[in-house]
């Protein structure tokens, strides 16, 4: 396998965004930690979504289409994250992250021109939702008004990817129309949330629940979970993540908590942590070798961070939703951070050992 170290700086930038974003997250749930610069608590969401997830998704797409210009997407989001953290006060960082999202839109438009497919259409809608959210953020909207667009970005990106892979099962049109209806609810919810935040979040929640239900019922992970090793691990990550997507959707639908508070915290972290990070953990053994050219053989140790992630999200949501147990929210946040740290360290350990084994004499 050929090393692709030229891509490593993008991954490093994404990881630094993740680390800084998690640090801000710990401060937000009440842990007393040093705050490097004043007024940076607001950066938690932008760093986690634009800096980490945005850079990863932009890099993945650039590797996929193999065009140099596409790398300006992760370049812009990574540079934007650094500008947010280190740069002078202003909107430079937000502009760069927005520029990165526009490049991702351009990537999907270029693919759609060549091959018009439903799954690419869904991923294009996802990128457009991200860009609109970034535009609102640039225009001065509060993060909690923008977050519905960012949720739509992440969820629809993953829904599009699953739709693409599930073509091997040839799902019937009636089944697909259920998924497209749920995608429509997510888009409608984000749009309606602009004038009517609570109603919009409820509609978005219905869409999230619909996508979760569709994936639980029809995704190929239901079949590959019966296989062993890496295939089963990926499927377990996916199926368990779909459950959190459903939980986030149900909370959003039933409470419509569109302003910062415990219910809002529960929705956002069920989706971004329980769902999105379960997808990341599951696809790490595929995406990291694909991006870096370093093998990441399956080991049962990969289940450790997954179990810890789900347990920590459960603790956090219990703290969010059950008033007498509110203290658990902070502990859940700390365990969230520990799960992500364990994931990063374990992934690095597995890849380094695999590389050393491959380079050893006699191989």
């Amino acid at each position: 396998m050929k090393l692709k170290l030229g891509r490593a700086p993008f991954l490093l930038a994404a990881m630094l965004s993740l680390a800084y974003g998690v640090w801000m997250g710990l401060l937000r749930v009440g842990w007393v930690l040093p705050l490097p610069w004043p007024d940076q608590l607001i950066l938690h969401g932008p760093l986690m979504v634009g800096g980490f997830l945005g850079t990863l998704i932009g890099l993945e797409r650039a590797v996929g289409i193999g065009r140099r210009w596409a790398y300006t997407a992760p370049l812009c989001t990574a540079a934007g994250s650094f500008a947010l953290v280190l740069g002078p006060p202003g909107r430079g960082g937000a502009w760069l992250v927005t520029a990165g999202s526009i490049v991702v839109v351009a990537v999907f438009v270029s693919i759609l021109i060549r091959h018009a497919t439903a799954f690419t259409g869904v991923m294009l809608i996802a990128a457009v939702m991200w860009t609109i959210g970034n535009g609102l953020w640039l225009a001065g909207a509060s993060i909690y008004r923008v977050v519905v667009w960012w949720i739509a970005f992440v969820v629809l990106t993953i829904a599009g990817e699953r739709l693409e892979l599930n073509r091997v099962l040839k799902p019937p049109a009636a089944t697909l129309s259920l998924l497209f209806s749920a995608v429509g609810l997510v888009v409608a919810g984000a749009c309606i949330a602009v004038p009517q935040p609570a109603l919009g979040l409820r509609i978005l929640g219905a869409g999230l629940g619909g996508i979760s239900g569709w994936l639980c019922a029809y995704d190929i992970a239901r079949k590959t979970v019966r296989l062993g090793g890496e295939r089963r691990f990926i499927a377990v990550c996916l199926l368990s993540g779909y459950v959190w997507l459903g939980v986030g959707g149900i909370i959003a639908l039933s409470i419509g908590a569109a302003t910062p508070g415990v219910s809002y915290d529960a929705v956002v972290h069920a989706v971004f942590l329980g769902f999105a990070f379960a997808m990341i953990l599951g696809h790490a053994p595929i995406v990291f070798p694909a991006v870096l050219g370093v093998p990441m053989p399956f080991t049962s140790s990969l289940y450790g961070p997954l179990v810890m992630l789900h347990a920590s999200v459960a603790v956090r949501l219990i703290g969010d939703l059950i008033e007498p147990l509110a203290r658990l929210r902070a502990w859940g946040g700390l365990l969230n951070a520990a799960a992500l740290l364990l994931f990063v360290l374990n992934t690095a350990r597995v890849m380094v050992f695999a590389r050393v084994r491959n380079d050893s004499p006699g191989r």
């Binding site: 091997v168 190929i220 295939r231 070798p289």
Partner: protein, 99 residues
């Protein structure tokens, strides 16, 4: 001399990491050319034009052929987007595996 059947057998060992199906039965391999000098050219596609596993699968194809087929001097993998992959290209074996 390397034979096309040997190269195809080697490609049967390249497994899609999520589906668990080999790339031949998945219908990703469009053509195999082997010349008398031992130069192998594999023409293949991906399930989607934006699939990030492009380089990864290319590496697996090269190493599988080099390791398993005798008398191979070089391997070139052409990844093409046309014609696009469709599930109709999957073999009966792949369909049964995914049932």
């Amino acid at each position: 001399m390397a034979a096309e059947a040997d190269v195809r057998a080697a490609l049967h060992e390249v497994i899609d990491p999520e589906l668990g199906v080999n790339i031949v039965d998945l219908g990703l391999v469009y053509g195999i050319d082997v010349n008398p000098e031992g130069e192998v050219r594999v023409t293949m596609t991906m399930t989607s034009p934006a699939c990030p596993m492009r380089d990864y699968l290319e590496g697996l194809v090269e190493s599988s052929i080099i390791e398993r087929v005798p008398d191979v001097r070089s391997v070139v993998v052409d990844i093409v987007d046309e014609p696009p992959w469709s599930p109709d290209r999957m073999s009966e074996a792949a369909r049964r595996q995914l049932e």
